[in-house]
Assembly symmetry: C2
Homo-oligomer: 339 residues x 2
């Protein structure tokens, strides 16, 4: 277990001072060529790598970015992380991941832990509890300390920072419009309760599309799911009770659950009922029938978020406070569940 090599040890072994070693390794002209190569060879031979912690302390930057998300076992978030990690790595950064598990308290604790020097900036998507409580003191606090924050997907208008989102309302509207163009007259929507921003916006977009076509908005055809646990039962009942020929679902799970319920009552997809889902993940690709989806391009969102964060980090911190909201285009992927 060869102890970790430090400048100090090299200096001792070679009979020079620490500063000389440091300078030699950075190829400073202050050091004679012989001394320099002697030190460099020694360092190479014993595979010296400067200690990151010491560098962080000295430079007051860690080259790490913190990502706080509600869940990782969720295809969309996983793709976001993948994108963020890629861009971070390309720029010499590493990512530290913390999961809030949709809990406000855990989100706060995690942020506090990371904010004390562990990272240079945050990428985050708010937990359900946080959105419900509308309590954002923790993110305000880290921003006050001069730590940049980029939010994605689950964002809040109450916080002034860079954001990366998709045009939820617009995408939901296009989805409904797409179904109507295919001939659907009785559209349904399976969405979340309103305090989840994305659910609310998608509901709003859905309604707008119907209104634009002058169609009635039938309240019963809009199902808002609060407790995901018994989504299955709620959706089954909803499918049985409502007479619809097209359904928009705000996520894959709702869509595939609905799809199964539809087939169970003897209707066929897409002939009797067309289905379109948000989030282009594994389920949509492999469900039966495969689902037409609105892809959220998570990889791209993650990449953009990292990009923006790193830009903020590397610009003169003395710069003006200007925040931007990037809207990532969604992509409609047509599969078997629509005509």
């Amino acid at each position: 277990m060869a102890q970790k090599l430090t400048l100090k040890k090299i200096a001792q072994d070679l009979g020079v001072s620490i500063s000389t070693v440091s300078k030699a390794l950075r190829d400073s002209h202050e050091i004679s060529v012989e001394t320099r190569s002697k030190i460099q060879e020694y360092a190479k031979k014993f595979n010296f790598k400067p200690n990151n912690i010491a560098l962080s302390l000295k430079n007051q930057k860690t080259k790490k970015i913190g990502i706080i998300i509600p869940e990782i076992v969720h295809h969309f978030f996983a793709t976001v992380i993948a994108g963020a990690e890629r861009v971070a790595n390309e720029n010499g950064y590493q990512v530290i991941i913390c999961l809030s598990g949709e809990s406000f308290d855990k989100e706060v604790v995690n942020m506090d832990m990371l904010a004390n020097g562990s990272i240079d900036g945050f990428i985050m998507s708010l937990s359900k509890e946080t959105m419900e409580k509308q309590d954002f003191h923790h993110v305000r606090e880290v921003m006050n300390q001069g730590m940049p924050v980029v939010m994605f997907d689950r964002v809040s208008d109450d916080i002034n920072c860079d954001k990366v989102i998709i045009d939820d309302a617009g995408a939901a509207s296009s989805a409904a419009e797409f179904l109507m163009r295919k001939g659907c007259k009785k559209l349904g929507l399976i969405t979340t309760v309103d305090y989840i921003t994305v659910g609310r916006l998608r509901t709003q977009g859905f309604k707008e599309a119907l209104m634009k076509r002058g169609m009635d908005i039938v309240p019963g055809r809009i199902l808002k799911i609060g407790d995901v646990e018994d989504a299955g039962l709620q959706i089954a009942a909803y499918i049985k009770e409502q007479d619809m020929d097209g359904i928009v679902a705000v996520n894959e799970l709702f869509a595939v659950t609905a799809s199964k319920a539809i087939q169970k009552i003897g209707k066929s997809i897409p002939k009797d009922v067309a289905v379109i889902a948000f989030t282009d993940g594994m389920l949509s690709k492999y469900a039966s029938p495969t689902l037409t989806t609105i892809g959220q391009n998570g990889e791209e969102m993650g990449g953009l978020a990292a990009q923006k964060l790193i830009e903020k980090l590397e610009s003169d911190s003395s710069n003006e406070e200007s925040y931007e909201t990037v809207i990532v285009k969604t992509s409609l992927v047509e599969r078997e569940s629509t005509p």
Copy 2:
């Protein structure tokens, strides 16, 4: 942008020395009660939190663990991370995630970056390329520096360290046995090429189960997939050509792809062909029909890996070099794809 509070600033503001502040905040009896409470109140008021980097440097430990995995957009790995993150957090640790993207070089680079002081220990699953090359110098190197490593899932016998794996051969054997008990006579296997340890072991277990029952092993019924890209075509051809009444697949994707191919040629599941898959993820739960699976309990594996790593980290590092391999039980989840 209130500058980050430090001991030094508190000391200046209160007209005492840095050491006094430090001691007061740790409730040392060396400091008088008045001074202590004065300092503590001040610290609380301005929300002082000690700088993690400085602590890391001082204590020579970061309270962070590095996780290196091939992919994150993969349900199994996501569950492992979730489990590791949970246990890590419970013990005051944080996780840093690096993705190798199945590339040897990226695995090496990432390990090198993390090994220079950023973390206290590693949890990792080897990339495909690494397993193919059989080059493990990078993990040996960090181990030589006294940094503990715990491997999971994709491990190597050539490396001596703690490991967390499932009993792949045993699980594959039970899967085959399960199908035979249900009356299947002509079993097929969809697996990976042999240099992926888990694929090899599952293949081996599958064969053992057949031999134990005295059944012939028909080479054509064992499909080894190397390039995942055209797995679809290979599986479709295989299903068409071979006459089988039961199939074991080493992952969900292969299983659901096979399942679709089977239904496409007009056979019914599970009546004509029974299907059983490894990895109990989203696909199995929502495919049509839903799949009987062998759950790998990724959450548990991640948790155990973190547990073992933290134990190693917190024991006297002077302890004996004893390594353990934990075998996590698999769980058979019966669904519609088997009789």
